[in-house]
Symmetry: C2
Subunit: 110 residues, 2 copies
């Protein structure tokens, strides 16, 4: 019944991923952990949301990936942001600003 935190992410996931990766390289679970970290625990991305998103974003050309070794010597796929991914981060940041401003205005009204 409840909607848990369904829709909590709705549309912010891509931006969070792009932000989490930043200018570095991270593998899937690393991205997940970093998102939890930079949102102070508010967003906990589950594998079932994360991997489809990563594949989608690689398809879109915002991320590239390569196989490497994790900190624990395990096989892991690392992601890096592309130029297009940087631009996309900018676009989505602006969109987010528009939304929050509109909502702030709506929540102020009586």
């Amino acid at each position: 019944m409840g909607k848990n935190q369904t829709n909590l992410l709705q549309g912010t996931l891509d931006l969070l991923i792009l932000r989490a990766v930043g200018d570095g390289e991270l593998h899937g679970l690393g991205i997940s952990r970093r998102i939890e970290q930079i949102t102070r625990g508010t967003f906990q991305v589950k594998p079932g949301s994360l991997f489809p998103a990563l594949h989608r974003m690689e398809e879109a050309g915002w991320l590239t990936s390569f196989w490497g070794e994790s900190e624990n010597n395990r096989r892991a796929k690392f992601y890096r942001r592309t130029k297009a991914g940087e631009r996309q981060a900018g676009v989505e940041t602006e969109q987010w600003a528009t939304i929050t401003q509109a909502m702030a205005h709506a929540l102020k009204a009586t």
Copy 2:
């Protein structure tokens, strides 16, 4: 392909409707117009989004409705917020605050 303004609402529609109705009575298109107004034109809710949402929210007990006459003497269904709807507005307002704070923090990080 493109996402136009698909997902622009991202889960905020219920809250916007509750806010738009406020303590008064509004019919469907009136709610739609008021949302556009209080978000300064950012959110334009289409019938295909609005009516399913209204039905859903009435089902959930957050709104009640009755048939009446519009300002233009046309048959219209008016919606009013229930007590539960008021509580829900509070809950969703808090959730929204949590999300925006988390995002603000995430977008600040390098």
